[in-house]
Amino acid sequence: MSAVTSPARPASSGMSARTINRIVIYSLLALFAIFYLMPLFVMLVTSFKTMDEIQNGNMLSLPQSPTIEPWFKAWGETCVGLTCAGIKGYFWNSIKMVVPAVLISTLLGALNGYVLTKWRFRGHTLVFAMMLFACFIPFQSVLLPMATILGSLGRFGVTLQNATGFNFGLGNSTVNLAFVHVVYGLGFTTLFFRNYYEAFPTELVKAAQVDGASFFQIFRRIMLPNSMPIFVVTVIYQFTNIWNDFLFASAYAGTGDVMPMTVALNNVVNTSTGVVEYNVNMAAAMIAALPTLIVYVVAGRYFVRGLMAGAVKG
């Protein structure tokens, strides 16, 4: 769509009106840019200030004597609940949970999308609708049964541990969370791939079938090489969602060493013992935000382009 205030229009309003128009538009855009950047800016500058400067200075001023101390303190020393070993352990907890969960749910989503578009069977719409609906449920409606099941699996894991010396990951909070995120992420990944493959020419698949290519051969040699954009989109989406999750994390790994990053951050910030070190809090928040921010900065273009291809309908 072309811009509406382009010079193609008859010059009834004149040149100056157009200039004013442009000034208004640019000022509005700049104003909103400030609105969106402000909290990040405040967080960033605060994390480089000394406590003295925070208490006596202005929140918007740049650090007078920038210090990287708060970042080190947040990473290695700050207290999360009763243990004071920084947030690094929780950061790794999140990584260990996110990576497998993203990979598994994305791969399954790709296969599901492939089946639901190119190998349709009676009732494929119903199957898809049921999986799609699962994306939208409030997770509160499954929270408690899952807690019960994970609890019993954990007890079973202890039994196995005693019997065989190995618990097969049962009762391990990181494994539990990864599993939960795969299950409740499937709807989204399937949706993304299904919408993407819907537009993929079925003739190509049919032709390969006539040539005798098998189900997996077609998937590997025809679908996958053409799926790069939607893979990037799905991986970014899942990574962001799972890294940022707080509800499941606080319900199934809400205390102790097993907490993921979001829960740990919330504990750091809400620890009310002693002097609140705002600079350390902000540094911790920045560390929690960095992985998703980096992914966004590196692949943001892909994210938006992919959204247009996959998620936005109509």
């Binding site: 402000m38 202005n58 296969l111 089946v115 609906f133 509160q140 499954v142 943001g300």
Partner: protein
């Protein structure tokens, strides 16, 4: 790829001649369903099964631990009674009132702001490539980080109020985050900040998808910019409105984390949404049946919005 296809052509007739071929080909026919089965089974058990389980629990008198004796709709009766207990307000009354305020403002402002920004950005703007990611990045942050940032920003002693005092505007007063009547509006501010850029991106994608010819024709017919948007562009964006509404409604009902991180529930639980009510009653107040009942009500509300949407989406598609 071509080599595989060629060898397959040669192989296929031999396959059919062999007696095992029919079993193999039947397996080949079943393969797509076998591939889909684990995901579908997981959905059936962990989504639909668990929902039924939660509904079941809501009809028991479970407290700290689940109990499986059905005792009737007592939990719902209590919620219903609390719905009208507005003086002093029950936690449930506060939660659903907040949900109404938050949902309405959050969805409304995000849609309006998103559309507005998208239209502005669509005016052949120099630097669009810089502005767009700036508007969109909050979506990459977790609600917890957003909450922490805005908690600091809105804190009367540290943030905006303090800053404006230092700049000489000493009469400025902004303590919504500590005020039980206004704390929910701070959740709206933070929520809008986070999601509106994403909605902008959705609208922008929609705008870019509109056929330029239609616009040209309208311009030749003498339509003003405002008329053009009101009469032609916005009606054409209807599907985007719908998708954006669904995304926002979904985010609104899920906004548990934002309330926790931004307000820790607010003074006396005054910032609670139903999601916070559910969590607190289930895991902290040992009222599992009531918590489950509230979860069922949340689910019903979302179902009422989502099912018609999905139905219409999936019906149109095959045609």
């Amino acid at each position: 790829m071509s080599t595989v296809a060629e060898t397959q052509i040669k192989l296929t007739p031999e396959h059919d001649a062999r007696p095992g071929a029919s079993v193999r080909s039947r397996l080949q026919d079943l393969l797509p369903k076998i591939v889909l089965a684990p995901s579908f089974a997981a959905t059936i058990v962990f989504v639909y099964g668990f929902i039924l389980w939660t509904i079941y629990l809501s009809f028991t008198n479970s407290k700290t631990f689940p109990s499986y004796d059905i005792t009737g709709p007592r939990a719902y009766q209590r919620l219903w009674r609390w719905t009208f207990e507005s003086d002093p307000p029950s936690s449930w009354y506060t939660s659903i009132t907040n949900m109404g305020i938050f949902g309405f403002l959050y969805i409304g402002i995000c849609l309006a702001l998103g559309l507005f920004l998208a239209i502005l950005l669509d005016q052949k703007i120099r630097g669009e490539g810089v502005l767009r990611p700036i508007y969109l990045y909050p979506m990459a942050l977790s609600f917890i980080v957003t909450g922490v940032a805005w908690k600091w920003f809105l804190d009367p002693g540290l943030g905006l109020e303090q800053t404006l005092h230092q700049w000489g505007w000493t009469s400025f007063h902004f303590d919504w985050i500590k005020n039980k009547d206004f704390v929910i509006y701070t959740v709206v501010i933070a929520g809008v900040w986070q999601a509106s850029g994403f909605i902008m991106a959705m609208f922008l994608a929609g705008l870019r998808g509109i056929d330029g010819e239609i616009m040209k024709a309208a311009q030749i017919d003498g339509a003003s910019t405002f008329q053009l948007y009101r009469r032609i562009v916005i009606p054409l964006l209807r599907p985007v409105f719908l998708s954006a509404f669904i995304v926002l409604a979904h985010l609104a009902i899920k906004s548990y984390d934002l309330v926790v991180a931004l307000t820790s529930g607010g003074p006396g639980g005054s910032a609670w949404l139903p999601s916070n009510f559910m969590y607190e009653f289930t895991f902290k107040r040992n009222e599992m049946a009531v918590g489950s009942a509230s979860a069922v009500i949340m689910l019903m509300t979302l179902t009422a919005i989502i099912v018609p949407y999905l139905y219409s989406e999936l019906r149109e598609k095959p045609r």
